[in-house]
């Protein structure tokens, strides 16, 4: 219930910030919601569509186009393995396979218990320190499989 109130407040704030009927506000609005809530739901899309006087499909189409928007939230631990050129050459593929095996989830998915999600991302811009992974935003440079197992082992322990 409280969650709904927070959401409603967020939407109200956003709607006063971005004028009604101006579709230029669509992506920034979705970005702020994504940032706050971690994912977009049908109700949110409908509310945004109404505010901007757009068909819901249009809003959904935009959200589905960009990588940033999610319709399901990431896991409590979101693991990103960089697969940019630098990291690719540095062996990110075997790193990714290792994580997949270790967590028993495929890249792009979230574990059933919602604890872990795994994603291969284009480039984190840290090519000089390849391969890089990031767990909930914290980066681990020049990592190898062994270290990775250790790190994930640690977070597996402190599951939330």
């Amino acid at each position: 219930m409280q969650q709904d109130d927070i959401m409603e407040q967020l939407l109200l704030d956003l709607f006063s910030k971005y004028p009604a009927g101006k579709k230029e506000g669509l992506i920034p609005i979705l970005q702020e919601i994504q940032e706050e809530k971690g994912s977009l739901t049908g109700e949110i899309l409908t509310a945004v569509a109404q505010h901007l006087e757009l068909p819901v499909n249009k809003v959904y189409g935009v959200a589905a186009f960009y990588n940033q928007f999610l319709f399901r939230p990431h896991g409590a631990f979101h693991i990103q393995v960089c697969d940019g050129t630098g990291c690719h050459l540095g062996g990110s593929v075997s790193l990714l396979t290792a994580v997949e095996k270790f967590l028993k989830i495929k890249a792009g998915n979230t574990s059933r218990d919602g604890q872990f999600s795994l994603e291969a991302v284009p480039c984190m811009g840290a090519c000089d320190q390849s391969p890089v992974i990031s767990i909930n935003g914290e980066r681990y440079p020049r990592i190898n499989e062994e270290e990775l197992r250790k790190i994930i082992g640690v977070i597996k322990e402190k599951k939330v």
């Binding site: 579709k23 630098g86 840290a126």
Partner: protein, 649 residues
């Protein structure tokens, strides 16, 4: 950086420096300037490279260690967070400058090393390791036996104009930029030149767009200026999403005001009252720095209403891309700013005539705009003197891959590729041989060693079928599988294709599938299948041609680049994959053939049980064998063997 007395300092700098055409200062101004520039110090200064690359390498931990060290030892010193000076492979970078002495730079200064390093420096001795060099400066006492930074091979070839301040000044404090002549060009421009004149100056300088077609920037501005409209827009394109290139971020995190000044001048030249900076939303730090820089510039009156009393108004807004590579294309970027899917549209009409919300819009790459203040400051003739006949100025290049050194550099146009590889990057890591250089990002082309004599420039690169793109340069060593790498880029591009036009949407997918076919071992071997796969190569060339010919935007038109160039220079690798089913580099896992070392195998039987193809035979406690014909190369046995008895060729 808002200490007490700051507004006064700002006012002073604006009056005495920004509005001073001559560049000749009275004594008190000169004195103050040298303090702001940290040439004269009253207490030690410690500089930490806090670009994203630095932070990834642990610069924030270094910072904490420095702070702890200073408190514990009761030493008073300024800590200045600077951007990345380009040598990313040496991060975290830590510089220490004692009053009266040169600024000393340390490489790989991780938190654990801080105590030792600082201890030595504060005791006026030199530590044994980690010394990168020193910044030579007239009047500073030099540290004995330490190379000057500009004498290092990494810096020797560089001509730092766009990156002049990056890594040296604090990006968080506008005074650092002002004290180095910042916003002078803007002042000069809006008070002395008409917009037409600015376009003319920039056209005379022959500055060409730093990403994409290399169109003359001044001419593009003039088109927008001359197109009548109630509103015009300037967009600074910093949406770099090439995997393996991050010069835009380096610039924004290191010297944001240079970009803002360039934007302001460009907006004035085209008559725009509103400018957007479009950058990746995951560049969190760059956004924070940029947002703050815009605020400071506005507070100083460099943005906003009636700039310098000239009547010119400008608001600058940050727009965050939502994660789509195709939005680097200008019309897609505009579509995205308008709140739609980032889909490119047909040109003409060009955005300079009809862009954002149907109004004339100039989309300039961030590096192009960062060149502008210097051009206005020093004049077009000065700028034209740098570079080659057809390509003027410098180019920022991001070196990644297998080089000894990687990072961001700026070289004059006309620099030979081979010099960048050998001198700046210091050759290939671990004594390996250079196989090729990938120029221009995921849709770039592979340049073989024999073509590396080519000079950097729009036309020279075009002659060898390449292009500089936004300036990504990936060094590849002999252990690279070109087929697999081409597949990797094709996979990236087909994922990032917007899906609008058939050749790009369907064509890249087909090319990827063909490449996957080549790098996969067929389940049953028959000559027919080899033929099919061979046909794939022919189809690749055919498809590449049509995709290049008919795609709507640059993403599709250039998408076949890696495949075509690798086919051209490394065709034998494709043939090896197809006919011999072998990947010499061992990268294409599916083509591996596994063997069991009879000396190491103790017959534990695990591999036999795990093999999904029943390709392993043997009795318990006796060495096992792999039936080559049955093995699909999945590698499960390799992973499951606890005795390292399985190896592959």
């Amino acid at each position: 950086m808002t200490g007490s007395g700051t507004p006064k300092l700002t006012e002073f700098l604006v009056e005495k420096v920004v509005k001073n055409y001559s560049g000749i200062y009275d004594k008190s101004t000169a004195e103050l300037l040298s303090r702001v520039r940290r040439e004269k110090l009253s207490q030690p200064a410690i500089f930490i490279g806090m670009g994203s690359c630095g932070i990834t390498a642990g610069a924030d931990k270094t910072l904490k260690a420095v702070e702890t060290y200073l408190t514990e030892n009761k030493i008073k010193a300024d800590i200045i967070k600077v951007g990345c000076m380009g040598l990313c492979s040496a991060e975290p970078l830590l510089d220490v400058q004692l009053p009266g002495k040169t600024r000393l730079s340390f490489a790989n200064a991780t938190a654990g090393k801080v105590d030792d390093l600082l201890n030595s420096v504060f005791h006026h001795t030199l530590p044994h390791d980690n010394i990168l060099g020193q910044y030579r400066f007239h009047g500073h006492e030099e540290w004995p036996g330490i190379t000057s930074l500009e004498e290092l091979p990494f810096f020797g070839l560089q001509y730092r104009m766009v990156l002049k301040n990056t890594g040296i000044i604090s990006p968080e404090d506008i005074h650092d930029y002002l004290a180095r002549g910042g916003y002078k060009s803007l002042f000069k421009t809006v008070l002395n030149y008409t917009p037409e004149k600015v376009c003319e100056i920039v056209e005379q300088s022959e500055l060409r767009g730093r990403a994409g077609g290399g169109y003359l920037t001044g001419r593009k501005w003039l088109v927008a200026l001359e197109t009548g409209s109630d509103q015009k827009y300037l967009i600074c394109n910093a949406d770099e999403s090439d995997p393996g290139a991050y010069m835009d971020r380096t610039l924004l995190e290191g010297d944001p005001h240079r970009v803002i000044e360039g934007i302001a001048i460009a907006a004035y030249a085209i008559g725009a009252k509103k400018a957007y900076i479009y950058l990746r939303s995951d560049y969190k730090r760059a956004i924070v720095i940029l947002r703050d820089a815009i605020r400071q510039a506005r507070e100083c009156g460099f943005l906003g209403e009636n700039i310098f009393g000239s009547g010119f108004n400008l608001t600058v807004q940050i727009s965050q891309g939502a994660g789509a590579f195709v939005c680097g294309e200008e019309t897609a970027l505009i579509a995205s700013l308008e709140g739609g899917r980032g889909i490119p549209r047909e040109k003409p009409p060009f955005p300079a005539e009809k862009g954002l919300l149907g109004r004339p819009t100039v989309v300039n790459n961030i590096e192009t705009l960062a060149n502008v203040p210097a051009i206005l400051e020093n004049g077009p003739a000065w700028f034209k003197a740098i570079g080659t006949k057809t390509s003027k100025g410098t180019k920022v290049i991001c070196i990644s891959g297998k080089g000894v050194r990687t990072g961001v550099v700026e070289v004059p146009m006309g620099t030979r590729l081979i010099d960048i590889v050998n001198t700046l990057a210091g050759g290939i890591k671990n004594g390996k041989q250079l196989k090729a250089v990938l120029l221009g990002g995921p849709s770039g082309v592979f340049v073989p060693p024999q073509d590396l004599e080519t000079e950097i420039g729009f036309d020279t690169l075009q002659e060898i079928g390449a292009g500089i793109g936004i300036g990504g340069m990936v060094l590849l060593d002999e252990e690279t599988c070109m087929v697999s790498l081409s597949k990797y880029f094709m996979e990236f591009l087909q994922k990032e294709s917007c899906g609008k036009c058939i050749p790009c949407r369907e064509g890249t997918k087909r090319m990827l599938e063909i490449l996957e076919g080549i790098t996969r071992r067929p389940r049953e071997e028959s000559s027919h299948e080899t033929l099919e796969r061979f046909k794939g190569v022919v189809q690749l060339e055919n498809l590449a041609e049509v995709i290049r010919d008919t795609s709507l935007c640059g993403l599709g038109q250039n998408a076949p680049g890696p495949v075509l160039s690798s086919l051209k220079w490394f065709r034998e690798e494709y043939e090896e994959h197809i006919f011999d089913r072998r990947c010499a580099a061992g990268v294409c896992h599916d083509l591996r053939t596994f063997f069991i070392d009879v000396d190491l195998c103790n017959g534990c039987n695990i591999c036999q049980r795990k093999c999904p193809e029943n390709a392993i035979i043997g009795t318990v406690k006796m060495p096992h064998f792999i039936i080559e014909n049955k093995c699909t190369g999945c590698g499960i046995c390799f992973d499951s063997c606890k005795f390292n008895a399985i190896y592959f060729k």
